[in-house]
Symmetry: C2
Subunit: 157 residues, 2 copies
């Protein structure tokens, strides 16, 4: 199963990039994970929040394929434990999912249309984190999930 | 008020170190924050969990001073929002706290004696994160707290 972390917003700062690579490399022997960052073309940039969300929606709809299983990361989503993350990833594999997409919305969240398309909606915390840090946290948590599924000593709860 | 993040365990990987510095630098104009990493001397290293927790307790008790306001980061702690973090930090300042300590325990948590000494106990998430990543998350969240208290546009919830 391919796992893709989709994130709207600018490229990573170096320390985030280094950290994401660090965890992807550790996960690679078990499962490939990639980060896909998406930015609106500069000519579409606007300070109008509604318009921005709409444009991000169009960008995402063009990218979403029927073989994607979409998990939206959202502050209002379900607060899962690391073990539950692992179980959910296992279930996706059991269902024969081709590509699991973990979507981090833009600065103002995603549109209702995208929310409706999501198969699940998860929250990392009641705290607000910057989008770049969320990418790093997801990279680590995917690695942790596979550690749990493979009984690796990395995770001891 | 001094803010110190205390963390038991080895020194940071470079990407964590870079990230922690990044946020400390941004927080500096408002309030100083430092990271204090603590390791048991090698001669005390053991695979006995109870013994390790006891030795870490001794190390922490030697370091704790009456002017410290101790907040323990623990999976079983309170799940606060970023706004509640900011309010709590403000309250610490209002009480005239000299040094606020955010303590990340060792790999197996802290002893009951240390738990009893903590003024508050907070949890970041229901997920388990590695200790190094917790340092980075704390550095960001302290910066976010001061952004909230200073009405900086960094935080928009």
């Amino acid at each position: 199963m391919n796992i893709e972390i989709w994130s709207i917003g600018k490229e990573n700062d170096k320390f985030i990039d280094d950290g994401v690579r660090h965890y992807f490399k550790k996960t690679q022997p078990w499962n490939p994970v990639t980060l896909v960052t998406m930015q609106l073309p500069k000519k579409l940039a606007t300070t109008d929040i509604t318009r921005t969300k709409q444009q991000e929606e169009e960008m995402l709809l063009k990218k979403l394929q029927p073989h994607h299983y979409l998990i939206l990361m959202d502050e209002k989503g379900k607060l899962l434990t690391s073990e539950q993350w692992a179980q959910n990833i296992q279930q996706c594999m059991n269902m024969g999912t081709k590509t699991l997409v973990l979507l981090i919305g833009g600065a103002y969240g995603v549109s209702d249309t995208i929310k409706a398309k999501a198969n699940q909606c998860w929250s990392l915390s009641k705290l607000v984190f910057p989008h770049q840090l969320v990418r790093l946290i997801l990279a680590e948590q995917v690695y942790r999930s596979f550690s749990i599924l493979n009984n690796s000593p990395y995770h001891h709860s």
